[in-house]
Symmetry: C2
């Protein structure tokens, strides 16, 4: 048994939002509020920025029912940030500010919910507090739709995004087939360096209603081969449905979407728009076939209305586990999921991994889960991803629109 | 009582798909299959093209359970078309072919499901059959996400698209607010000449989670005023969320998106992309604020996963009513919805209107439902649209993805 540590807790959200980051928020906040050792529970406004600016929400002021609605509320309800914190050994300015706030509120528990960069921040704070001898237990809670965190089988947020992407692919695929005239659809899915999200489109293909071609950043993109691939599908099926990661790149490492940046409109202004627009334009010019570019954009990371029940439940549990682990004396760790490789059905348990492990390398889709030609995804991926999208959560509506949490966000005063 | 007319029925789908056009298909097909007077029920492959090519599916060969799944299946399951049929008084080539097929299968009932152009096709077939003295009862079933059909309070398909749009706006709005840095989001919503779909974004704003500015094609778009509007919201709120119809235009009638067509990429190829990309690029260049363009594209007309129960039920009922009306001797009519203006709660009944009425003018959002400055939508619109998105349908899943109808589509032989 760890020694009892009495004090406050801060919870912060960081990086890009997901459909279930607030589910983890609920897991942390509810468990912390219910703990006897945690005296006060604060939510940091915009992650670590809220700590630096002493902008903390007193979570005890919230209605329990509204807190519970966090479970189905997309985006980062407390606000997020992309703040790059210095290495404490090089510049400890920020850390002194953080320490001051920690002391002011007697913060002894720090929970940070995010992806690679956020775990890096979390790890640096852990190291600094240890160095200066301030007792504080620091636990990271994983989150990213990108699913690229090391040390964990998968990340909360991914399953719901994957489910939305697969569903949208099924619907668009059905739409594509209605006319007698052929058409090409290029769908752009998030993922700068890892193709987990784009690969999820194969869940739709598996039902006969998804992309014919899938390109991930894990392989080099070749324009000639691409044209050839499209041509072959066109000859066989007429309509062509293509899923591409935003981060596909040539063998020289240059992003395919980078060409876009030189594009200007009639006024000489840079155009927004990504790789689907670009490839769609090329295909249209080359084939003359009606071509449509669809970018799932922010929708894929905020579509809580199509969330996976498994994902939501795991996100809540990850939050709970973070608090319980800290209460049990753990620190400098991130919650991770470990899948039982021997179980025929999906079975995951939660473990703790060093923050430093999670803060490092991006986890990519294994090359052997992608076909040899690099234009589709294999069954290994399907077996991996399918369990993560399972189940339909209870949904809350108001006027038949989603009813999201409405927090009071009362700033803590001391 | 009308004279009993014994013979076959053809049902066809035409124009752009919706989330609930197959619900109407179910309504027509099921009711026709159950009728004693209708001897055979055929589904035309790709609408009127299937009739012209004698490609008819024998709907009696389908499993009842799969037919029922049509109720939740997006897109036009029998295939659609955008075939422009000649005026029978000028060129009766197609009509002779149609008559031949009608005679071959003893078709005495023709049901056509679509928007303005489809009702025009339907009306021409009705007129021709009447002229040549071939007895056939012709009824149109309304459908369009655009909601621009005359003669009806609203169109099946609109409510579900509106619900998806509002939900997506809520989710994107939440996502937009998470960072401390300001951003501008421009969301492009379908609607070339009528702003019904874009106006639906106000359902989200009404919950505090939608666009700040809404521009419809019903008013002239002015770029200077637009910049001014954005600037004002930015000063007040920081983040700016803008919804625009794809069809917004300047006072000279020129589409704002038309400028796009002159845009080329580095290879000299025309770029795909619409008005959101264009305005986003202008705003980014002008303000330097992070700007994002989102185009809902095909998603908004195929997102059956977020369908309105009211819409689905009305779509089914419209199909049923079409068949029952034809059996009762009606012809040359379209099913329409009439809202009870005296009822405090939403109450609609079905009526029949002449096909010629529906085939004509596009119905637009009344000017008085839009604010004076033309950058937002009034409460009148909200009161109109809210009832149409109500209710959550039962959803069918397979592996936690939507389970759509899988029809055999057996070609009828005779």
């Amino acid at each position: 048994m760890a020694e009892k540590l009495i004090g406050s807790a801060i919870f912060g959200q960081s990086g890009g939002p997901t459909s279930v980051i607030n589910s983890s928020a609920y897991g942390v906040i509810r468990t912390a509020l219910d703990s006897d050792e945690i005296t006060n529970v604060y939510g940091a406004e915009n992650g670590i920025i809220g700590v630096l600016n002493d902008r903390l929400f007193d979570m005890s002021k919230e209605d329990a029912d509204e807190l519970l609605l966090l479970v189905n509320t997309p985006s980062s309800e407390l606000g997020s940030c992309r703040y790059k914190i210095a290495d404490p050994d090089e510049d400890d300015t920020d850390y002194k500010k953080i320490l001051k706030v920690f002391k002011k509120y007697n913060v002894r528990y720090f929970f940070y919910n995010g992806g690679n960069d956020s775990m890096d921040t979390c790890n640096k704070i852990y190291r600094y507090m240890k160095k200066v001898g301030y007792e504080c237990r620091v636990i990271g809670v994983p989150k990213t739709i990108d699913n690229d965190l090391s040390g964990t089988d998968h990340c909360p947020g991914y399953g719901s995004a994957a489910k939305y992407i697969a569903t949208s692919c099924m619907e668009v695929s059905k739409d594509n087939k209605v006319y007698t005239t052929d058409n090409i659809t290029v769908m752009e899915i998030m993922g700068r360096h890892a193709g987990w999200l784009t690969a999820a489109s194969v869940l739709a293909s598996d039902k006969g209603e998804g992309p014919d071609l899938i390109y991930l950043p894990e392989t080099d993109f070749d324009l000639d081969q691409f044209f050839d691939d499209v041509q072959k599908v066109h000859e066989k099926k007429g309509d062509v449905f293509i899923a591409v990661s935003e981060g596909i790149h040539y063998d020289n490492g240059r992003f395919v979407a980078e060409v876009q940046t030189s594009t200007t409109d009639g006024f000489g202004h840079a155009q927004l728009g990504g790789v689907a627009n670009y490839l769609g334009g090329l295909l249209k010019a080359r084939t003359g076939i009606k071509t449509r570019a669809i970018e799932l954009s922010l929708l894929q990371r905020s579509a809580a209305h199509m969330a996976s029940k498994t994902d939501i439940e795991e996100a809540i549990e990850a939050g709970k586990f973070a608090v319980k682990s800290a209460l049990a004396g753990k620190t400098g760790r991130m919650v991770a999921f470990e899948r039982d490789p021997d179980s025929t059905s999906y079975k995951c348990k939660m473990i703790l991994v060093p923050l430093s492990e999670a803060a490092n390398a991006e986890k990519k889709v294994p090359r052997e889960w992608i076909n040899k030609r690099g234009n589709f995804v294999n069954k290994e991926f399907l077996d991996y991803a399918l369990p993560l999208i399972q189940g339909e959560p209870v949904r809350y509506f108001e006027d038949s629109l989603p009813r999201y949490a409405r927090l009071k966000k009362v700033i803590a005063e001391k």
